[in-house]
Symmetry: C2
């Protein structure tokens, strides 16, 4: 019997895994965001509803996010740049995974911190060099973890988190994205 308290309800997740093995249609989620242009390259994006377990769902609160470009891009800096949101998602996803795997393995976490660095050659998006890609050149995540575990166990936690991370997969493998005008 585990006595660790990382705050993750692993039992519920294991039950969900078993339940969804026999009900693949319930496992089909749709996440949504709605965005509105403000001025210049400033936009405001709202997230609230999603679909899953066969029905419409809603977060307990609506979340609103500002995006803009910084002053060095001759913009107003009313929010972080769009590409920085990918780093936020990556750090959060891997951290959630570390907590979940630690709970499942009976490892008590004391602190988990991470820094993410995304290298980006902006000649791509500016159209200055057609050989330069638009997105990140590469991304590096570094975890600092204090836990009741050996270094080897901590490295294994991080490796398992990466293996099951939705955002890590979305960044390291291609996804089909369709962009249309209504």
């Amino acid at each position: 019997m585990t006595t660790v308290a990382n705050g993750v309800n692993v039992q519920a997740l294991l039950e969900a895994r078993d339940a969804l093995k026999g009900a693949p249609e319930a496992a089909q989620f749709t996440w949504r965001a709605s965005s509105k242009w403000q001025d210049g390259v400033h936009s405001t994006t709202t997230v609230r509803d999603f679909f899953g377990l066969g029905q419409e769902q809603s977060h307990k609160a609506e979340s609103v996010f500002e995006a803009d470009h910084p002053a060095v891009f001759a913009a107003e800096d009313n929010g972080i740049t769009p590409i920085e949101y990918l780093l936020v998602g990556l750090a959060a996803c891997l951290t959630a995974g570390v907590a979940s795997v630690a709970q499942n393995r009976g490892i008590q976490l004391r602190s988990v911190e991470s820094t993410v660095e995304g290298k980006h050659d902006i000649r791509g998006i500016l159209g200055a060099d057609s050989d330069v890609r638009n997105g990140f050149t590469d991304v590096k995540v570094t975890f600092t973890i204090d836990a009741d575990a050996s270094r080897q166990e901590i490295e294994a936690l991080v490796a398992q988190s990466q293996k099951r991370s939705a955002v890590f997969d979305a960044l390291t493998n291609p996804t089909d994205v369709t962009v249309d005008v209504a």
Copy 2:
């Protein structure tokens, strides 16, 4: 001479493009995020500093983002899910591109709205089926644009934005992501 006022300083961007053609080292940016585990799968991520144009830079304000899982995942829903941050970044990036391209083409925008939907089979992250990927199955973006332009011109704006989008590239093509323990 353009008389449109979309709020994008296209002249500065075109000058940056020309300047960076001869100074590729200045075009090397590093975007950063720092994340801290709270409890369960809840984390808080901060974005403030970055590197570019050969020196340390800073947003005019620090931005803080909460991520968690919703109640249907037996979590506290203290913020949006990590994977939803990817949709925020995608909508914001494509919208910034539409505004920039419209400015460059002399098209006055009145409103630009978009919805993004990311399909996600959560059997992947739960480990319920090893044939199911962890990330999005696919993503669909739909723009509704009111502008002083024909439908064909509006579709061309969106197509050009997609062609130069950092986040569209990051989601549709693989990026090398390294995850380490300090």
